[in-house]
Amino acid sequence: MSNSTIPTTPQGKAADFLDERLSISKAIKSNISKVFPDHWSFMLGEVALYSFIILLLSGTYLTLFFKPSMVEVIYNGPYVPLKGVKMSEAFASTLHISFDVRGGLLMRQIHHWAALFFIGAMSIHMFRVFFTGAFRKPRELNWVIGTVLVLLGIVEGFMGYSLPDDLLSGTGLRITQGIIAAVPVVGTYVSFGLFGGEFPGQDVVSRFYTLHILLIPGLILALVGAHLMMVWYQKHTQWPGPGRTENNVVGYRLFPVYTAKAGGFFFVVLGLTTLISALVTINPVWMFGPYTPDQISAGSQPDWYMGFLDGAVRVMPNWEISAFGHTLSLNLIIPAIVLPGIMTTLLGLYPFVSVD
């Protein structure tokens, strides 16, 4: 080996150690000065990414205290109005997080607010990409990944707010069960499989928990990785302007300007999310009480990103067909299964069917 640079400083030696084994010099050489265009609308995707990181961190904290179990216990904690009330361990541990763990309520609220910001930022980011035509060749595949990410985000959010087993989330699960049961042929079996038998059963919280903290975030993480790698490789789009062409990227370099700006922006997003969570109550499950299938709070509403589904289910005429010993609930299948299916398929395929 003919080393022209023999490292003497500790940093130099560390870099040399890595380079001899992983040839990091090549990777750094070709990436560290990469140019990114600047525009406020490019921060929307960043907000989504940072919210996701906040979700991973706050969610990990919550798993330290949450008990994903539907076994019934009698509450005996500090929240007086529910003292002596029968509830699932999931709900009781949510109360414990909210009232006994210092910072627990803060983490719960950060987690919920960040989830809303995550889905909100993804949606607005998607509008930006749509209305600027940034989904066009060569970025169609990344649009498809983005569509899947929004869907996974919605599913993940829904599962997340189902976990505390409060009266509101239980109502959401009840509606989900009714919609699953409406699926022709397999619906009843899928419903019994998901709930471990009849509704509400004893299994759905622990099953959603595994999906919510492992499977779906794993998928989201992998797709976010692919999404960013494609942005990196294909280079970011830019707004027209002096000196901007189809063949160049005008902006600031990754190191140091974007490292500082994007790194700083993460802390800004984290800071604002934390501030909002300190000042604005969200999902006060102690006011709803534990889930029981014969009670409901008036005006039950899902989180906003489920609103389009809820609305579609409401406005649907009450069509149902019963024939040959079977029931076909068009009043549910059309708004809750066919409609979102068509919507997301069209959305995902839009770059391939639209004309320039």
Binding site: I175, Q202, N247, A278
Partner: protein
């Protein structure tokens, strides 16, 4: 493209007098490209004192951030999780949540602001230009890729040995099957479970007021009144099974109206002196209903606003629900308690494929 000749030549024809556009360059589609604007130096680029000032601002922001974070740690120690404080315009909130969140939130916000301020004021302000390289491989790479793939495919014999190919495809098609089959024990088979409730377990089942826990007698109910009720013995079943499954099916509402107001029932004389018992579980997707308007005898579901007329056999009068609310037949036993005489005539709650 025809008007191209009427326009000034793209090179050398700089008639820059009078502030006219510089037609120096065009992209490959013939569109004009304005040159990159010259960088106007920022005050921090020229004035060392301004740069020094910016440096101090950044340092202050970092210091403030660190101080807030340290304050957050102090708040963790200082406040018990149950202590409340009054915050103007917000009300009485958890002191721990308020101070932890506010201080940590501000702390990370200031850190982020410091980094961004640093990047904007002190790091290079001049835009850099990168080239976008074509994503399509050059002809040689493409030819080589195809050739190598073809060679490998030929070497594998995938195409020339159909026996191997077909058996492999067949075996692989079966591969997902065990994975799906293994999910079989997620839940029991539905069988007839959705068709029965515990009202059918005995010939006569007494009715318990769900709120007070007392057995219901006909004289407890005034005309126009409504009682949420459950079958006697439900609590015991819930204790034994550890689930709320039975509650999700057998919850009912009792209403009393003038016998003359009853237009129709699901069975001849199923009321008891104007007292009617209906399932509480909406036939749409299963929300429990208890919004009742006594003057019109309308029962309104809070989930999707399906409305049922309890004076007319529980008929759907509005909304997405397709089926009437199932009714129970009422009577009194020897001791004068209100009883249900047998089960509902049909499954309660949402539809399912096998319902018929």
């Amino acid at each position: 493209m025809s008007e191209q000749s009427n326009l000034p030549a793209t090179h050398g024809a700089h008639d820059n007098h009078g502030g006219e556009v510089d037609y120096a360059t065009r992209d490959e589609r013939g569109r004009y490209i304005l040159p990159l604007e010259e960088h106007t130096p920022r005050i921090t680029d020229i004035d060392p004192r301004a740069a020094k000032r910016a440096e101090r601002q950044v340092a202050w922001l970092f210091t403030l951030g660190g101080a807030c974070l340290a304050g957050g740690v102090a708040a963790y120690v200082a406040f018990d999780s149950r202590e409340l404080i009054s915050v103007p315009t917000i009300g009485r909130v958890s002191a721990s949540n308020f101070w932890l969140g506010t201080l940590i939130g501000l702390g990370s916000f200031f850190i982020g602001a410091a980094a961004i301020h640093w990047a904007r004021r002190l790091m290079p302000g001049e835009e850099a230009v990168d080239h976008r390289h074509p994503l399509r491989g050059d002809e040689q790479s493409r030819a080589s890729a195809i050739e190598q793939f073809k060679r490998g495919a030929a070497e594998s014999g995938f195409l020339s040995r159909p026996l191997v190919r077909r058996t492999m495809l067949g075996a692989m098609a079966l591969f997902p099957l065990p994975l799906v089959v293994l999910l079989g024990d997620l839940g029991p088979s539905p069988k007839e479970k959705l068709r029965h409730t515990m009202w059918g377990d005995k010939r006569m089942t007494r009715i318990v007021n769900q709120g007070s826990g007392e057995l219901v007698r006909p004289e407890d109910m005034a005309v126009g009144g409504l009682i949420n009720a459950i079958p006697e013995g439900l609590e015991r079943i819930q204790e034994e099974t550890g689930t709320q499954n039975e509650r999700a099916k057998s919850s009912i509402i009792l209403v009393r109206m003038n016998p003359s107001e009853i237009k129709a029932q699901q069975g001849e004389g199923w009321d008891y002196e104007g007292i009617l018992a209906y399932s509480k579980i909406c036939t749409h997707v299963g929300c429990p209903i208890s919004l009742y308007q006594q003057r019109t005898h309308a029962l309104l579901c809070p989930c999707h606003q399906s409305t049922f007329d309890l004076s007319d056999a529980g008929r759907v009068v509005f909304g997405p629900a397709a089926r009437h609310m199932p009714q129970l037949r009422l009577g009194v036993d020897a001791e004068g308690y209100l009883v249900a005489l047998g089960d509902f005539a049909e499954p309660v709650g949402p539809s399912f494929w096998e319902r018929g």
